[in-house]
């Protein structure tokens, strides 16, 4: 199957990446090339094979519920585009 312009617009919206109408066509062609290439996976019989999500089989470690970090809010907010009084500023979302 191959993607049409509507599919590309939907994927871009899900990924929160703005695409202009002109970019959408080139993107459709490139994505279809890549999807055409990965299509060969479909021909492989993988019945009964467990998906391998990770390179090593380890279980999630737990740690004691204690504070391990110091408060460095100012340092971490110094790299933000816009902050005020310790808060991150974004366009109004609740009227």
């Amino acid at each position: 199957m191959s993607l049409n312009l509507e599919d590309v617009a939907r994927i871009a919206r899900l990924a929160r990446i703005e695409l202009s109408a002109a970019e959408r066509e080139a993107t459709r062609d490139q994505l279809n090339d890549i999807l055409g290439f990965i299509e060969q996976l479909q021909a492989v019989d993988t019945a009964g094979i467990e998906p391998m999500a990770h390179a090593v089989d380890v279980v999630q470690r737990l740690r004691p519920d204690v504070v391990t970090e110091t408060d460095r809010r100012a340092d971490f907010q110094a790299v933000a585009p816009e902050t005020e009084g310790g808060l991150y500023l974004v366009p109004r979302v609740v009227e």
Binding site: R16, D33, F37, L41, P51, H54, A55, V79, E82
Partner: protein, 489 residues
């Protein structure tokens, strides 16, 4: 003193210990070379002479006091710009992070600094490590010191070019699908990707978390062993860091090759490899036989599926990892936007380059409702088949060998218009990442246009010491790894 640019790390260490050179002198030697040669190569993208020299002075204090020193104290290196480095710009080769000065150190940076190593600067790379030629960097491509009209490989292209041009004795790199080994091959270096989980990913900007591993890039296996000793180890801040006893990765360096069984996957010696690469790799195998090793044909029947499986799994993980770049907490924010959604989508559209966006879109698609089973789970099942092939092959051999890259370094623009052709540059390296295995590349001769060829060694899980010893024995018998490009002499 200029002879020191070709010295091994052990030789530099001995010179520092004997007070024949100071850490400040050594750092200055390389900073001066960077000033002279970097404009033509574009390997370093951030330099800070004052910070470097302050670190060097601190190393000299340690050396003078004679306490708390390690074999690496006072030796300078460059960090791939994917490693967060406190107080240094850490851009990951992207406009998204072009103004990001990291407030903390990656575990690898922290460990190498604790060992007394001196940071020369930050090294150029493909944007977010997505590329095999360094052409996707926001800061422009790195040029191959062997021929500046050719790519250095990628994504750790700045690291490879810097060490090859002797602008640094060593560098850090990361490898998600071949990003240490392929540039090492294309620039004539020795580079090692450890077993997944051996080196902490804390502070290493994430691309595909189940595949990413940091590792050393240097002139020899001996150098890589010293560096890996300082880089490896458990770190509670990386949830997949492995709790294993500390190892000396150099412990087997002097073990002779007699009795070594080298597996040669017939899939790695097929039609895809250029004739010049084949000739150099075959000659290296003949040298190994002369040194007492035996070769046996093995099979990796699913290895041909590794590139397509990777281009489902890696973009899927990338689309998730890179969702953090939203223009809110750090990174680029578009100058004009209406509502919050538009702020996100414009910041991401403008802050990311074309290849990164392509991979995010592919990843978003394969994880989306209705396609998850057909693409993502399918690729994960094939990933298990690929790993099982290796486990089977290692019943017949101690290490696996083959080419690192199907060709020598190619010209700028040769593959950049066709993503799939570029992806196939990593055809011999990707399967080891999928399986979590360690892999190395070491120089084994020169091909067309006098460009370096890399021999790949794939080790069994946790077989780093074995791999390093196999590489070191070859480097004792040959001198390919000592060659230096003419243009930077």
């Amino acid at each position: 003193m200029s002879g020191l640019i070709n010295s091994s790390l052990r030789e530099l260490s001995a010179a520092l210990a004997a007070k024949k050179v100071s850490a400040v002198e050594l750092a200055t030697l390389f900073l001066d070379r960077i000033e002279k040669f970097n404009p033509a190569l574009n390997a370093f993208i951030t330099l800070d002479r004052d910070k470097t020299l302050a670190q060097a002075r601190a190393a000299d204090e340690r050396l003078k006091a004679g306490t708390g020193t390690t074999p690496l104290t006072g030796i300078p290196l460059g960090h791939k710009d994917i490693f967060c480095t406190r107080g240094w710009r850490t851009s990951c080769g992207s406009q998204m992070l072009a103004n990001f000065v990291s407030p903390y150190d990656a575990n690898v940076v922290e460990k190498l600094a604790a060992a007394g190593m001196v940071t020369l600067g930050k090294l150029n790379m493909d944007e977010f490590a997505m590329g095999s030629s360094n052409e996707t960097s926001y800061f422009g491509p790195v040029r191959n010191p062997w021929d500046v009209s050719r790519v250095p490989g990628g994504s750790s292209g700045g690291s490879a070019a810097a060490v090859a041009a002797r602008l640094a004795p060593a560098a850090t790199g990361t490898d998600t699908g071949g990003s240490i080994r392929q540039p090492a091959a294309l620039c004539g270096l020795t580079g090692l990707k450890p077993t997944y989980g051996v080196v902490s990913r804390y502070g290493m900007i994430a691309f595909a978390s189940s595949l990413d591993q940091g590792g050393p890039m240097a002139k020899s296996a001996d150098d890589c062993a010293l560096l890996l000793n300082a880089m490896a180890g458990f770190d509670a801040r990386d949830s997949t860091s492995l709790e294993r006893p500390t190892e000396d990765y150099g412990r087997d360096l002097d073990m002779p090759l007699a009795g070594l069984r080298i597996g040669l996957p017939k899939e790695f010696f097929g039609a895809g490899m250029d004739a010049d690469v084949r000739a150099a790799v075959e000659a290296a195998l003949a040298e190994y036989r002369r040194l007492g090793a035996t070769t046996v044909e093995v099979q990796l029947p699913n290895s041909g599926l590794s590139v397509p499986a990777y281009y489902v799994i890696a973009p899927a993980e990338a689309s998730s990892n890179l969702s953090r770049f939203d223009g809110v907490r750090y990174g680029y924010r578009a100058p004009e936007y209406g509502d919050l959604t538009e702020m996100y989508s414009r910041s991401r559209a403008q802050g990311f380059g074309a290849e990164v966006k392509r991979r995010i879109l592919i990843g978003t698609y394969v994880l989306s409702h209705g396609y998850y089973d057909a693409y993502y789970l399918k690729a994960q099942r094939i990933r298990r088949l690929i790993a099982a092939d290796f486990a089977e092959a290692f019943k017949q051999c101690d290490v696996i060998m083959g080419p690192t890259s199907p060709s020598v370094a190619f010209a700028f623009g040769a593959k950049s218009a066709d993503p799939v052709q570029m992806y196939l540059s990593d055809i011999y390296t990707i399967s080891t990442n999928l399986a979590g295995l360690p892999g190395m590349s070491l120089p084994c001769g020169f091909g067309n246009n006098n460009m370096p060829v890399g021999l790949q060694i794939i080790g069994n899980w946790f077989g780093e010491a074995k791999m390093l010893s196999v590489a070191h024995q070859y480097q004792k018998a040959t001198d390919w790894h000592t060659r230096m490009p003419e243009g930077v002499k």
